[in-house]
Symmetry: C2
Subunit: 331 residues, 2 copies
DNA sequence: CTGTTAGCGCCTTCAT
DNA sequence: ATGAAGGCGCTAACAG
């Protein structure tokens, strides 16, 4: 069975390619029910599938969504991606995948390549808060995830960072913690980290820059250990609580505490952003804020696809996806 | 700056499109150094980027690798994907992503769509051991991951399942366990699960079908709990060990044991396939077999891309990626 | 209702 | 060393 083309179908059925094309595109009003059926049958019999490449050339629309993620290895990200994929599939769009591996220049490369590959739209899960490349994307055909620029230029889907952390940390405070600390990757200019920190500050009333502790994703943790040691010593006798900004940070904290011979919820208390499967089997289980990563994926795709066919230029929106709390026994 | 085409460049430089095309494709021998330079400059100045869609149409090669994964949410899978992406990028290929969400019919759909979208090649991380759709893929332009059919028809990249489990379980046995059990998702016809089970059998000498315990990924675990209870009762007084076939199964086991009020390594011992970040912070930390998921990704892409340009039909190979052991304190 | 006919942007003989 | 021209498979006016 050779590769069929629209021409073959047209010839076999005895109509012109235009008619077949119209059929393919749902312009059924433009032909008799009889030819409709003949074409339908022929397509079925020959297993004909139109070439999306050729169609892309002709329509200048590849029906492809380019996705740039910061780090696909992050459980949050892979769940988001699965949401994006499902939603795109539902609307007949394909997904061109790129991954920055947390490297900003890699990301720049990825995004500009996607742009040069005539994708219909772009979904970006940014590595950092800002990058020159972000200026090159337009609200017409892009949405960003998780990054809340000071001035939103492009539709952005984020999780409820500030408020959920504020509520959660307040709850910790209610448990009579004397002092609290926010643990995070280096804040840099990553809005997610800042928003959660600000929620923390709002709940505690601390001033910005204090009660903040950072770990690096990679390399040695001796510095972190020192800071932690200092904190625990400084607050000897007090009830001290920690809020970690995601699961991986939590792992760093727990490992460090373990190293220092300290145990929660006795020597300290913990709560975390992000709900990962393993958190529930720790003893005690970790109380956390659960974000709906899948929904973030589907929402962002939905918004993007909507504006792709709406064709009307809207002003950029900020969509906040709600979270839920899982209170277990870690504080 | 309008969208440049090859024609524009040709006109601006004062040559024909053929010459520009030759330049673009590295056929530099076909033109004078002078024109080479002129073209190069013009391309740079105008920011011209050839349309991959048009090129795809003309060459009938989209320079795109279609990827079908069983479940992107699985940490193994997302790491594999990152490997695939890096390797493909290195060779100028793009990655079209699809995800089956562990659903076989969804997968069938994904793969056949990819096939109809003139991808240059296919990488498949299969949902199950077999599916009619797998018959439609050819070794010419595809590689499979992690699935070892009885008869390999397509290059397949797997991790060292059998031997590494055999070695690891032997090591557990050396710790004087009286009896051991293999815990897994339902074996079905998934080669990975079977191979690990067979390695387990080889180490223990048990007969197939015994000392095997399955959990379902979803739904209630009461059945599992009952089986576990029976096992622990039946082996009262004995030193009993468990080997879980991956991290998620391990979580199920630990949760169940916790529910039964049992603790490792006192009441039982555990070891697992797969090395996940949280395993090292459990107390005691989990001893496990660490597979190189990233390498599996890069290898499979490498093999695929190699044969895509080698153009010589080779016979299907089975590539086994080695593992390493992390012995910690869980048994 | 249906057919004709230009393109879409690039590649590729075949001439020159 | 360079150019002219046809074609890849499909779409979209415009005719009829």
């Amino acid at each position: 069975m050779e590769k069929m083309t629209i021409k073959d179908i047209a010839k076999l059925v005895g109509v012109s390619t235009a008619t077949v094309s119209n059929y393919l595109n749902g312009n059924l009003s433009k032909m008799s029910p009889a030819t409709q059926k003949k074409i339908a049958d022929m397509i079925r019999n020959t297993n004909y599938v139109p070439s999306s490449v050729a169609r892309g050339l002709a329509t200048n629309d590849s029906k492809t969504i380019g996705v740039s993620v910061a780090d696909i290895t992050n459980p949050f990200t892979s769940t988001v991606l699965s949401g994006i994929y499902e939603e795109c599939g539902k609307h007949g769009y394909r997904v061109l995948f790129t991954n920055a591996s947390s490297d900003a220049s890699h990301e720049t490369d990825n995004i500009s390549k996607l742009q040069n590959q005539q994708v219909s739209g772009l979904i970006i899960d940014p590595v950092e808060g800002d990058s020159p490349i972000y200026k090159t994307i337009t609200n017409r055909n892009a949405v960003m995830i998780d990054r809340q620029a000071k001035q939103i230029k492009v539709d952005t889907v984020v999780t409820d960072n500030f408020d959920s952390v504020k509520r959660f940390v307040s709850k910790m405070l209610d448990e009579a913690y004397d002092v609290m600390y926010y643990v995070s990757w280096p804040l840099k200019n990553v809005s997610t980290r800042w928003n959660r920190y600000n929620g923390f500050l709002a709940a505690t009333g601390y001033v910005s820059g204090t009660h903040y502790l950072s770990v690096h994703n990679t390399g040695d943790t001796s510095e972190f250990l020192d800071e932690l040691t200092a904190i625990m010593k400084e607050n000897a006798g007090k009830k001290v609580g920690f809020f970690t900004m995601n699961g991986r940070v939590l792992i760093r904290l727990l490992a460090a505490m373990e190293f220092l011979g300290l145990q929660y919820p006795i020597d300290y208390g913990v709560g975390s952003y992000e709900d990962l499967d393993w958190m529930s089997i720790l003893k005690p289980a970790i109380s956390c804020i659960s974000q709906d990563s899948y929904a973030i994926g589907t929402m962002s795709a939905q918004i993007l696809l909507n504006k792709l066919d709406a064709k009307s230029e809207m002003e950029p929106r900020l969509i906040e996806v709600p979270t839920s709390e899982k209170i277990r026994g870690s504080f």
